[in-house]
Symmetry: C2
Subunit: 391 residues, 2 copies
């Protein structure tokens, strides 16, 4: 299988056969280069991360779980440097091609995983989502993608970024493959019972570009019909921008703490924007961190209140489809900031979130997100599967 | 001529024959990769600087001046990225070997130019000095080196960093070659008359490591005898650290302004420390910049007061000899900060400064600096030449 879209890390492809006769036998997968594969250096999308580190001797938990279930690993994928990025443009390893939106970014940081699945190079792929790194590329590449409940999966062997926000997620092109893989990684069957109440996050729809919000309306209608009842609510009474501000006062601080010793010892090479994010993390005032921790508590309380058992919430995954590649930082930074506003619940509140593909703006994919109570991951997957049948 | 010390930029060596029968015929020189050579991309020590820029069609003024005088260019040399660095460790192009201090940095940012001259690969080499980038490698590599009077030389074709502090400087192994090259680039004969008064900057000697200050004493004695009279003075009544603080509140701000559009458009790749310096420059509060501009005026007044015609001042060029290569930033940052304290007069006051080699600490070179009134560059060169004869 050739890869002319730059989704995989350079060099020989890591290939590991899945166990025969498993639940996922016959499926192929790729793993973001943040997951350990025994015998292969974990590059983290950065030229210098692997230097001086031992080559992993064990597979990451998620990789091993997929192999044990019968899926076959076909390679490791390009990522934004040490998962710091939301657009998928890596200055050292290039920008994986988004076949669903030519000339546009794939989204990041799980850029290569999303691009590879979208291009049909594999059936599913592992990503990580700290601040949107699975949800955003899923939206931009027209894929199913999940950010599971924070703290639910075993992250052993996954390169950390901001531990209180880090999750392992995955992508698929179709709902059935998505459900099969999800069942294995979540360790539970995908239920048949669906939620009975839908909350439409009006502030999130209002925050998205009007054409994006409009493009998602048919899916929202089908979702309401599927679930039975729907009502409108404001998701973030404090403001989505306030939630994003809190997330930006927490995540980069943790990321800096994660990488501090390495920065000191190795003075590693980065794109300017990545280094800048780390410097900013190092300079976040304590007063902002203290406030952000309180706002996180409020966001958690709000999401819990909105999402009792049997309820799901829907919102645009991203405010717009994939931006063009190669734009200046002064254009990209405000776009990234807007994306963060819609992604902040993940890191702040840790509720599971699934991106459902199916809408387009001028031919470019954009996804609808559904969010459920903590632990309702499998139910969200069931909703995605049921919704596909109504299409 | 082979170069196994990593002093030259990778790829084919830029070679330009000097004019026959010039004052410098028979001499070879190298140019820091911040100087334009017609037909050769100017790399600036950074992977991405040259991208999208036209290849120079004219030689930089300093390059052309040396060629016109008969010197032959043998190559372009490695530099700290866009001249941001004082130690000479380039994460992309490596650290040129300091043959005078094995295992130790050459100093920067004119690292390759100093290393090449020290290794005997060429007779002289062009560097730039904004915050110490000629003076420091001259001290660490045991070379003659000059930072001319600020504003004196034509900087056309030299990649700028912080324009109110930028200068073109050069290195040589022996005082005679140094004088020949200096006469050409300064555009005046090296005088025979010497200054008659020496000021010993006691605060600067006190600030250096004790063994470094001790090692320089024989040179100070010889210099006093040469000049005739000497007295001790405090150079910076406000504190050398205060001068350094002012310089650090001016130079990175200007550097950020110089590179801002490129950072935005190209999101270029840097070592973390270089990107961090640029980010810090972008964040310097206006109140600090305003204060620093006032302190610069005070430093200029102080230097003018200390250095009437016929007077020179001496001080250690660096507080210590070259540090070991490969040390963590947490070790290097405080060393760099101390170096800045001794270098700050250059950017703040703009007086010409010549590093004279001749002392060692545990076999490692360390230089004595002489500083004169603005415009007295040729006299400083004359002093260096006269002092060599007393050795």
């Amino acid at each position: 299988m050739t890869d002319d879209i730059g989704a995989f890390v350079p060099g020989p492809r890591a290939h590991r056969e899945g166990r025969a006769d498993g639940l996922l036998s016959g499926l192929t997968f790729a793993a973001k280069d943040l997951f350990d594969v025994a015998g292969v250096p974990t590059g983290g999308g950065n030229l210098d991360w692997a230097t001086g580190r031992p080559i992993p001797t064990k597979n990451a938990w998620a990789v091993q779980t997929l192999l044990d279930a019968g899926a076959t690993l076909i390679g490791k994928t390009v990522t934004d440097e040490v998962s710091l990025g939301i657009l998928g443009e890596n200055a050292f390893f290039g920008t994986p091609v988004n076949v669903r939106a030519p000339g546009r970014v794939p989204g990041g940081s799980s850029s290569g995983s999303a691009a590879a699945v979208a291009a049909g190079l594999c059936d599913t792929a592992l990503g990580t989502d700290t601040g949107g790194s699975v949800r955003v590329p899923a939206s931009f590449c027209g894929l199913y993608g999940i950010r599971p409940t924070q703290g639910r999966l075993d992250l052993t062997g996954m390169l950390p970024q901001a531990p209180t926000s880090d999750t392992t997620g995955w992508f698929a092109r179709d709902a059935r493959s998505f459900a099969r893989v999800s069942s294995v990684l979540l360790g539970e069957a995908i239920p048949t019972a669906l939620p009975t109440r839908l909350v439409v996050a009006v502030d999130a729809f209002g925050f998205a570009d009007a054409d994006a919000a409009d493009a998602l309306q048919p899916m929202v209608k089908r979702l309401g019909a599927l679930v039975g009842s729907s009502r409108e609510e404001i998701m973030a009474p404090q403001g989505l921008s306030v939630w994003a501000r809190a997330q930006r006062s927490l995540q980069p601080v943790e990321a800096y703490a994660t990488f501090k010793d390495w920065l000191d010892r190795g003075n590693p090479r980065f794109a300017f924007s990545v280094a800048k994010a780390l410097v900013m993390g190092s300079m976040t005032p304590q007063v902002d961190q203290t406030w952000a921790a309180l706002m996180r508590q409020e966001a958690r309380a709000r999401m819990k209140y909105l999402l009792p058992a049997g309820t799901i919430l829907c919102m645009p995954t991203t405010p717009f489809p994939a931006p063009l590649t190669g734009q200046p930082l002064s254009v990209l930074d405000p776009l990234r900031d807007r994306i963060t506003c819609l992604c902040a619940q993940g890191g702040l509140a840790g509720h599971p979130q699934v991106n459902i593909p199916g809408a387009t703006v001028d031919g470019l994919p954009i996804g609808l997100s559904i969010i459920g109570p903590r632990g309702s991951d499998a139910t969200l997957v069931a909703v995605a599967q049921a919704l596909e049948k109504t299409a």
